[in-house]
C-alpha cells in the first residue's frame, strides 16, 4: 500500500519533472507489493512465467527483492547542451538526467521530429546508433521511445527519450537518419508503435500476418500466434 502513492508520484515526474526517471518509477512498486492488484505489472507478471516456461532450465533465483533503501535517483543533467535545448524548445525538454555518466534527455513526443532534426543539424549528432523502445505497461504512457545518438565531431553520445501512450503515434525520423527505417520497423514489429510518415511501415522480423507484438510486457514468453503457426507450419503448437 505504501508503495502506491510513491508510484503515483513517480509516474508524474515526466510531466512535472520532480522525481526519478520513469524506469525508476515503475520498479519501486513492482518489487514487493501484491501482484494481484495490477495484472500488467512488468517485473512481477513476468517472473512466474519464466520457470514454468523453461521447464528444463534452472529456476532463476528470484526472491521478491526487498527495497532496502531508496534507489539512487539519477542526477539531473544541466550542461550547455541542455541549456541550448531548453532555450530552443522550452517545455518540450521535459527532464534531462544523467545515469551512469550517460546523458539522457526526456522530450515531448510531439516535438520528437523537430528535436531530432535540431540535434543532427545544430548539435552535430549525425549518427543514429540505435532507436528502440521499452514497455512500462503500468505507466500512464506505457512506452519509452529511446534513441541513442552519436556525434563524430564531438565524440559524444546522447540519449533522447519520449513517452508514448498505447495508441499514440510519433513522427518518423527516417528523413533525418535513414538508418531509422529498419529500426523503426523493428519497433513497430515488436511493440506496435506506429510511426507517422514512415515510408514502409511493415513488420521486420516476424511474418507479416503475425498477430501481436512480442516485446510488450503483457505478451507472455510462451505465447505465439497459434493460428499463423498452424496455417503456415502445419503444426499445432511450437511449444
Amino acid at each position: 500500500m505504501a508503495d502506491d502513492p510513491s508510484k503515483k508520484d513517480a509516474t508524474t515526474p515526466p510531466s512535472g519533472g520532480g522525481g526519478g526517471t520513469p524506469p525508476k518509477a515503475d520498479e519501486t512498486p513492482a518489487a514487493p507489493p501484491a501482484k494481484a492488484a495490477e495484472p500488467a505489472k512488468p517485473a512481477e507478471a513476468v517472473k512466474p512465467a519464466a520457470p514454468a516456461a523453461a521447464a528444463g532450465a534452472p529456476p532463476a533465483p528470484k526472491p521478491a527483492p526487498p527495497p532496502k533503501e531508496a534507489p539512487p535517483k539519477p542526477a539531473p543533467l544541466d550542461n550547455e547542451l541542455v541549456q541550448r535545448l531548453k532555450a530552443r524548445f522550452g517545455a518540450a525538454i521535459i527532464e534531462p538526467t544523467i545515469d551512469r555518466k550517460q546523458a539522457i534527455v526526456l522530450v515531448a513526443a510531439a516535438q520528437w521530429l523537430e528535436i531530432s532534426k535540431y540535434c543532427r543539424d545544430e548539435e552535430k549528432f549525425d549518427y543514429l546508433a540505435d532507436i528502440t523502445a521499452v514497455d512500462w505497461p503500468k505507466r500512464e504512457k506505457r512506452f519509452d521511445l529511446v534513441a541513442n545518438l552519436y556525434s563524430f565531431a564531438k565524440n559524444e553520445r546522447l540519449r533522447l527519450k519520449a513517452h508514448l501512450g498505447e495508441n499514440e503515434t510519433v513522427s518518423t525520423v527516417v528523413n533525418i537518419w535513414p538508418t531509422a527505417n529498419w529500426l523503426e520497423r523493428e519497433i513497430f514489429d515488436m511493440f506496435g508503435i506506429r510511426f507517422d510518415g514512415h515510408p514502409d511501415l511493415r513488420r521486420m522480423l516476424l511474418p507479416e500476418e503475425w498477430v501481436g507484438h512480442p516485446l510488450r510486457k503483457d505478451y507472455d514468453i510462451l505465447k505465439q500466434d497459434e493460428a499463423w503457426v498452424k496455417e503456415n507450419l502445419g503444426i499445432e503448437s511450437g511449444q
Partner: protein, 380 residues
C-alpha cells in the same frame, strides 16, 4: 505473383514492372547469402533496379528471452547471435552489465579479454575472407583461412573448453585463469600469422579477377554510410576514421598502439583492404598484450546474485562487424527489465540496397559478402 500483401514497398514495387524488368528471388536457401537471407531483386536486364531484404527466418526472440533470465543466465545467449564472433558478443554484454553494476573487471581480466577478443576479430575476418573469396570464385583462400582460424579455435578450446559459442567471459571478469603456455601459443600464432596474411594477399590483392570483381563494386560514400548508420570496417572503408576502440576505449585498448585503417573509395576492394589491415593490427595488439599481462585477481568482487541499481546503460564495443551496442534497463531485480542489442550486421545490411542499386546481378553476391553479415545477429 500475387504481391498484394506487400503494401507500399519502397524498395521493390513488384506490381509495377517495366517491359524488361523481372523479379528475381534469391535465397533464403542460397549458398552465397551466408545463412537464411532472402533478397528480392528487381532486375532490368542484368542491372539491379531495386532490392528488398527479407529477414527474420532465424529470429529467436533473444531480447524477450533476456527478460526472463538472470543477468548471468543470459550471458551464453549472446554468443548465439554473431556466432562467428561469440567472444566479442560476450565482451560487450559483460561490460555493459558491469557498467550497470558500477563494477569493473580487474586489470588482468581486461588484458586477457583484449587478447581473446582480438583473436576473435582475426577469426571472424578469416571466415569473412574465406567465404567472400569463395563467393567471388577464388576457392583456395577458404582452406588457408580456415587453417589459421583453427589455430585460434584451439586456443579457445584450451582456454574454456568451447570453440565457437565460448562463453569465455563472466560478468565481473573471467571464470578461468589462462592455461600454461597460453602466452607462448598466442605468440606463436601471431608470429606465424604475419606470413600467412601475406600469402592471402599474394592470392588476391593483385589478382586481376579479384580486382575486376571488387574494384568499384558496391560503392558507399561516407555521407551515405553515416546516414545509413553503417559501422565497422564498412564505414572505415568509406573513409570515416572511427573505431570505438579509440573513440571510447574499453577493456584494455587504451594501453596499446594500433592504427585505424581507412579506405579511399568505399568499394568492395577497399573493404577487403581495410579488413586485411585490421587483422594485422589485431595481431600487433595481441603481441603487445601478451608481453605484459598483469598479475592479480581475474574476477571482481560483485557477489553471486546480481541486482544492478535501477537505471539504464548503453554500452557499445567495436565488434568485428561494427558497433555492437547493448542497451540494458534494470529495475533493481536479478533479471534485466529490457535488453536491447544493437546489432552491427542488421544495420549494415540496410545499406545493401544503396550499394546494389545499378550494379550487375552477379555483383550482388560480392556485395552481400563484403558487408559481412551473420544472420544469427541480423535476426536475433
Amino acid at each position: 505473383m500475387d504481391e498484394t500483401r506487400t503494401k507500399s514497398g519502397t524498395q521493390v514495387e513488384t506490381t509495377v514492372l517495366g517491359a524488361d524488368e523481372i523479379i528475381l528471388n534469391m535465397g533464403p536457401q542460397h549458398p552465397s547469402t551466408h545463412g537464411v537471407l532472402r533478397v528480392k531483386l528487381k532486375l532490368d536486364g542484368e542491372r539491379v533496379a531495386g532490392s528488398e531484404c527479407i529477414i527474420g527466418y532465424l529470429h529467436r526472440g533473444v531480447e524477450k528471452i533476456a527478460e526472463h533470465r538472470s543477468y548471468q543466465q543470459f550471458a551464453p545467449y549472446v554468443d548465439r547471435m554473431d556466432y562467428v564472433a561469440a567472444v566479442s558478443n560476450g565482451l560487450g554484454y559483460c561490460e555493459a552489465v558491469e557498467k550497470l553494476l558500477g563494477a569493473e573487471a580487474p586489470p588482468r581480466a581486461r588484458v586477457v579479454r583484449t587478447i581473446l577478443t582480438e583473436l576473435q576479430r582475426i577469426a571472424s575476418h578469416l571466415v569473412w575472407l574465406g567465404t567472400h573469396a569463395l563467393d567471388i570464385g577464388a576457392l583456395t583462400p577458404l582452406f588457408y583461412c580456415f587453417r589459421e582460424r583453427e589455430e585460434i579455435l584451439k586456443i579457445y578450446e584450451k582456454y574454456c573448453g568451447a570453440r565457437l559459442t565460448t562463453h569465455a567471459f563472466r560478468i565481473g571478469g573471467l571464470q578461468y585463469e589462462t592455461y600454461d603456455g597460453f602466452e607462448a601459443e598466442v605468440e606463436r600464432f601471431c608470429n606465424d600469422f604475419s606470413q600467412r596474411i601475406d600469402e592471402y594477399e599474394t592470392l588476391l590483392t593483385e589478382n586481376r579477377i579479384w580486382l575486376g570483381r571488387t574494384k568499384g563494386v558496391g560503392v558507399l560514400s561516407a555521407a551515405d554510410a553515416i546516414a545509413l548508420g553503417v559501422s565497422g570496417p564498412v564505414l572505415r572503408a568509406s573513409g570515416v576514421k572511427w573505431d570505438i576502440r579509440k573513440a571510447a576505449p574499453y577493456a584494455a585498448y587504451d594501453q596499446y598502439k594500433f592504427e585505424i585503417p581507412t579506405g579511399p573509395n568505399g568499394d568492395t576492394y577497399d573493404r577487403y583492404m581495410v579488413r586485411m589491415e585490421e587483422m594485422r593490427q589485431s595481431r600487433l595488439i595481441c603481441l603487445q598484450a601478451i608481453e605484459n599481462i598483469p598479475s592479480g585477481p581475474i574476477m571482481a568482487r560483485i557477489g553471486k546474485v546480481l541486482k544492478p541499481p535501477p537505471g539504464e546503460v548503453y554500452h557499445a564495443i567495436e565488434a568485428p562487424k561494427g558497433e555492437l551496442g547493448y542497451y540494458i534497463v534494470s529495475d533493481g531485480t536479478t533479471q534485466p527489465y529490457r535488453v536491447r542489442v544493437r546489432p552491427p550486421s542488421f544495420v549494415n545490411l540496410q545499406a545493401f540496397d544503396q550499394m546494389a542499386r545499378g550494379s550487375l546481378v552477379a555483383d550482388v553476391v560480392a556485395i552481400i559478402g563484403t558487408i559481412d553479415i551473420v544472420l544469427g545477429e541480423v535476426d536475433r
